[in-house]
Subunit: 419 residues, 2 copies
């Protein structure tokens, strides 16, 4: 039997070659998604048991019944800054929690604070620019700068936050070279990854330096709701007398990261430039509506109970590390948040440890990706304690210690057993 | 949580001057939002009466009760391409409606198809590049290219869509000059603003030209669900044998624009580059969950009844124009969608008409903003009929005719009355 002659559609065509058409500045292609690891200590995922599902659903019900038809209109009839009731909630929340006095027109709702990062970077920076940034810092903030061709100068962080003596030195030196940095980026309130809180004295010094040198502060307050103590220092935005601060925040850490709702606070001089390049026709409205309905009644109580649960997990992680790594794992007790920043012995290369641990089902964030100084961060790693269960924290740290001992010879003893 | 009160906050300070720090490539600052006009014929807003509020709420209830706790994890545990059940729905929908054979791994959920535009532009274009685009086209597609420093070459559109004879001429001429355009952008199925549908013959010709010249097609199918007739030609993506097509779609027109959910369909060679620059940690999950729950049972029926309502409004607009403008307003009966593309007499400058009409409470989209050929579009305008009520359509067109007569002397007669 001879095969039927193929129709035109069945004849194999030469595959189209996109290769020569790609922009020359692209990062390497993404890898296929590999799923979550059994012991998943990476990323900013939160505690699934603490998502306030019933109350979010009640909020969705009331707001959709009342205003669901407004979904037919971009920005829900309240303009490109975002859903007005959510901005109005934020006006009160920012005053109460961060000491910020602003109006709903100073707030732009964004698709997560990551869009805020992108928008502020686009408004202020070009290739060849320089910025100051905490030496150990959020990977996404660093990688965004690298992709834009902007040079980040790392400022060491101690237990009082970004070291302003170093900021002063760097600003003076840059000025001498005729360089005016575009901003000083800081996560002052529960820094990522060190979980420190910048002291009020440092905040005042940083603001003075910012004004003296005409370099604005870019304040990323996305973890600030998760301070263990009831009191936190006012935001730099609140303390500034000149208005030289751009502020971003997020509901990702306080409610749920998958919602993708953040915000920028800035004066109109800056906001009008940001808004002109926010060409996405608005941030997701359903999420804005649900948050605006949920938050006035429940935000404060929810965050209070969320923090209690996170603190329990944080202590479980610190205990597991002490038990499994002993003195080989050094860390400060975090001031809040969802991360622990851990120092292992100098011979441990956490980039290599990451690979070995992945093969054992443990995902960690290696320090060099969370720092502008790869050598300083070589034997450091970041562990998220919010997402794994208490059991996974204990078991995962035990597996990680075993991996680390096998690859680097430390810890010598785990759980009081010499191997 | 209460912050310490900021000291020295009342002392007047010199306002910080951001002026010298802004990137040199920014567009002009945004104007403050002026609210919606009484007769609002602009933008892509839809019919508020047709938002399926009850069913969206039922979907939200069932999906949140079942999976709400997954909001604690970025991308809802199903990876950076987006919520898997929504991608799975799209696999079936794209096969049924557009003839596209693809897998869930070929689909990326985006924050509206506008994010799709941005991502594809970032992957393929740099300043100095050239693309082909329908001469009269979506303002956002044109303005994005201009901002990137990419030159759009306009291709005339007739009742069968983009004219492939003109595409052939332009490609040949560019090749002679050594220019390889980065893509051919088209909205083939209910084009914006002309509301034409590209014929199957033209689609075949366009694909042949694309392959002959090695220039991919960028197919924007965001209005394709709103074809009046039950049958539409297959997508270019479906007809391509070489895989040289990147496809974007949207739920903005079929469900609700404020949701901000769109999607890209592309092979992994392209998708892996797109995914590497989608650094927003995912598209809003609540909307993806609600759509994935709503669509399998209700999408088809909902779109059927939505189209019937839109057709009634379309006819109301065409009747109102005929009554108020008579022969002064020329237009083709649209093949679907939410827009009418209207030609007024040559002496009408619709950029000026827009200003005069705004003062009278009527918002219109002037042709020159929806075209790469401002002279061709000078006396044209785009009217959205989906959002205003039937009464607002009739009254708004009457006011617009009065404004136009006052400013430009046409129409001479309105509603059979000589003025």
């Amino acid at each position: 039997m001879s095969p039927a002659s193929p129709r035109a559609a069945d004849i194999a065509a030469v595959p189209f070659d996109f290769g020569p058409l790609f922009s020359r500045t692209l990062p390497p292609p993404a890898a296929k998604w590999g799923g979550l690891q059994k012991y998943h200590f990476i990323g900013g995922n939160n505690d699934a048991d603490q998502v306030p599902v019933d109350r979010l659903l009640a909020a969705a019900t009331s707001v959709l019944q009342r205003e669901g038809r407004n979904l037919a209109t971009y920005n829900l009839l309240t303009g490109p800054l975002g859903y007005l009731p959510l901005r109005q909630f934020l006006v009160g929340k920012l005053k109460r929690d961060a000491g910020i006095t602003c109006s709903a027109d100073d707030i732009l709702i964004t698709s997560g604070s990551l869009q805020g990062l992108d928008l502020v970077n686009s408004v202020l920076t070009e290739a060849g620019d320089t910025v100051l940034i905490e030496q150990d810092c959020y990977e996404g903030s660093i990688s965004r700068l690298m992709r834009r061709g902007v040079t980040p100068i790392g400022i060491p962080v101690d237990r009082d936050g970004m070291r302003t003596d170093a900021v002063a030195n760097v600003l003076a030196e840059l000025k001498q070279r005729g360089v005016r940095p575009k901003y000083i980026y800081t996560i002052p309130t529960v820094q990522n990854p060190t979980a420190t809180i910048m002291s009020e004295t440092r905040r005042r010094e940083l603001l003075r330096l910012s004004e003296d040198y005409g370099v604005p502060i870019f304040e990323d307050d996305c973890y600030a709701d998760l301070v263990w103590e009831d009191r936190r220092p006012p935001a730099l935005y609140a303390m500034s007398r000149s208005g030289g601060v751009i502020y971003i925040g997020s509901f990702s850490k306080s409610i749920a990261p998958a919602l993708r709702v953040g915000y920028i606070v800035a004066n109109w001089n800056v906001m009008s430039r940001i808004l002109a390049i926010k060409t996405d026709a608005g941030t997701g409205s359903l999420e804005q509506m649900v948050l605006a309905e949920f938050c006035p009644a429940h935000f404060h109580d929810h965050v209070g109970s969320l923090k209690k649960g996170l603190r329990v997990k944080c202590e479980a992680l610190m205990e597991a590390l002490a038990e499994q790594f002993g003195t080989a794992a050094e860390f400060d007790d975090p001031k809040g948040g969802i991360f622990l920043w851990v120092k292992l012995p100098d011979n441990v290369d956490t980039m290599k440890l990451r690979q070995a641990a992945l093969a054992d089902g443990v995902a960690i964030n290696p320090g060099p990706e969370w720092s502008v100084d790869a050598a300083h961060a070589r034997s450091r790693l970041r562990l998220c304690f919010a997402s794994p269960s208490l059991e996974a924290i204990r078991d995962g740290v035990a597996v990680l210690a075993e991996t680390c001992r096998r690859e680097f010879g430390v810890p010598e003893r785990s759980a009081n057993v010499t191997r």
